[in-house]
Point group: C2
Chain length 379, copies 2
């Protein structure tokens, strides 16, 4: 198989003069070392977790694009506070795209790398918004024969996040979960996993259409944060399920506080669950996203046994170790077209991904909308 001498890769740079630039850069085709393979990336999703590296703290509402084709450049101003936070990445171009899938077109001489030649694999590790990507063969998940690259594009971030939420629950001794922004692609997947595993899940949404999506999926507990009865609905659901762990995709505002307050109120209904310092069981909310960029506000009216923390998939996987990761990946490959199926509303080329009007659409993070980058499409 003959490969081109160069390929295009998307890079994000914060410049010293307060601008974010997202552009395509021509790179030399790498030669894989012994344990490496070169994957021709055919499909890579735009996940909310990609936005951080792509856009950082730039003001995306003010983004503009210039140029055409491979010369398309997206630029946006970065406010002073954002520059302070992103100090460590100034003038250091960052490859973007956490995960993707495609065909192995070159391999180093190790047996395992050679065994992947011609196979369709999913891969993670950044830099997937590009035409090719050289990765360690051990970072690849070979797909079953009936799966396409599009089927496998989202094999890691959402599936491993959903499964890792359940692993976290077990490792930290909780027995049920609360999840916010629960009608998201990830939220729907989490519902399928929890139903399969017999784990009770309290879904928090903010619109009645989102309630309907989850009820349709068979979700037992769905509460709407826009409803006048939200706090009592949430307390009831937490009381019934015994959930003392939540994963919050919104991050900012008062939602984490509301969840901890509802957990406290649920404990107050339970004989023996309460001491003079408040409820006894540890109540934890992990913020794994930042849909709401406003500050997180905690009134602390829930005793002393509580925590709020950031949660990031790679950090969890590093702590859980290789055996857990291998077990989770095997399950993803086996259930890729059922439990872990993803659906895309839009397919875009590398240059379309940089057009300001397209950026505004995927940056809106509308429920049900999901973009797939197709690096082999005409740039």
């Amino acid at each position: 198989m003959s490969l081109p001498a160069t390929y295009l890769q998307m890079l994000s740079t914060v410049t010293g003069d307060g601008e974010l630039r997202l552009e395509l850069v021509e790179k030399a085709m790498p030669t894989p070392r012994s344990g490496q393979v070169v994957v021709r990336i055919e499909a890579a999703p735009i996940n909310p977790s990609d936005h951080g590296v792509m856009f950082g703290w730039a003001s995306i509402a003010e983004a503009k694009s210039s140029g055409t084709g491979p010369g398309t450049v997206l630029s946006a101003p970065v406010p002073p506070q954002g520059m302070r936070v992103m100090k460590a990445r100034v003038d250091q171009p960052q490859p973007v795209g956490n995960e993707g899938a495609g065909t192995v077109v070159a391999a180093g001489d190790s047996d395992f790398a050679q065994s992947l030649l011609g196979r369709i694999v999913a891969a993670m590790g950044g830099g997937m918004y590009g035409q090719y990507r050289c990765v360690d063969a051990t970072m690849c998940l070979p797909l079953h024969d009936d799966c396409t690259a599009k089927d496998g594009a989202s094999s890691f971030v959402n599936p491993l996040t959903a499964l890792s939420m359940l692993e976290t629950m077990k490792m930290e001794g909780h027995k049920a979960l609360v999840h916010t922004a629960a009608a998201s692609n990830l939220g729907q997947m989490l519902n399928r996993v929890c139903q399969a595993d017999g784990v009770e899940l309290v879904n928090v949404v903010r619109k009645s259409e989102q309630e309907a999506i989850l009820r349709e999926l068979g979700a037992k507990y769905v509460v709407n944060s826009s409803s006048d009865t939200f706090m009592s609905d949430l307390t009831d659901a937490i009381h019934r399920t015994g959930a003392t762990l939540a994963f919050d995709a919104t991050g900012g505002g008062g939602l984490a506080n509301s969840i901890l307050s509802a957990m406290e109120a649920a404990a107050a209904r339970t004989p023996g669950a309460y001491s003079v310092y408040g409820s006894i069981a540890h109540k934890q909310v992990y913020l794994y996203g930042g849909l709401d960029v406003s500050p997180t506000v905690l009134n602390r009216g829930y005793g002393m046994a509580w925590g709020v923390a950031g949660w990031l998939l790679p950090n969890f996987l590093a702590k859980a170790g290789g055996e857990v990761l291998a077990r989770l990946c095997t399950r993803v490959a086996d259930e890729l077209k059922t439990t872990f199926a993803s659906h895309y509303t839009d397919e875009v080329s590398l240059s379309e991904t940089l057009q300001a009007d397209v950026v505004q659409r995927y940056n809106a993070k509308t429920t049900g909308q999901k973009f797939l980058v197709c690096p082999q499409h005409q740039v």
Copy 2:
């Protein structure tokens, strides 16, 4: 030794109609069971951690006292939000006073209980603001012969809190500490322990007098949150010490956020400590007090590897287990008159503790001021 038939104990009750009552109640003298002892309580400190059980969410600024001697009653209104939070304790009188010391005046028939007869012991477990207290002998710490009850009154809460902060640091893999309200009795003790153990400690205070107290004690890192250069001073100190763990006594407002932001800024100065998701090392702030009752506000500008959580000594000790507790208690008894010495500005009787003007004084939590309840003083 002949004991009176009854004794006075202080109880705190939240009534269904929104009032907090703190009063002395006559109780029958208990007969100790096999492994128990009766301690004549001679000295018991008023710690910030006692205020929660004593006053709950009542509006103490509006507290009034009535009656005299054993009939003194303190009452204060409880606002509606406080009633919701304290629902589980309505109409259930709570004994108050976490720790104290005194003479063992009666003992059950177990060898260990008998061995304590006549000894001066420190004890914890609540209900210490009373003339007598029956406790399990295993909950008593016999003092060395040269120690009085006043020397031993504060053997648990502050000493075990200071030592447990260091244990937490070791258990969770941190190497240095940040502490706020650092000129407090506890803060001074923590400085002595850290100096003895060679652990770097960043002291955060809000007044120059408090800075002076700590410098006098030999503290190396003292930063003043009222200074214009607070954030850069704090970042410098965190960068030098490598502290990624903080214990915050204020709880509310922006201090926890400032500490996490300074930890992030310190990491950004350190090669290899930073990824596109922010700093890599986990940064943790434990809120162990609530000197600032306003909400905790977190702007989350410090990546994903961070946590904020409540921290309560009994919960930590339960998790750490009996061997750790025994090790820490032995150290406290050995160093009671040096590292763990406490000083009191006021000694009050049980009834004086209930007088509104006295309550306003100890509720002010002024640095350097510390009250000792002496239940054997004339009520």
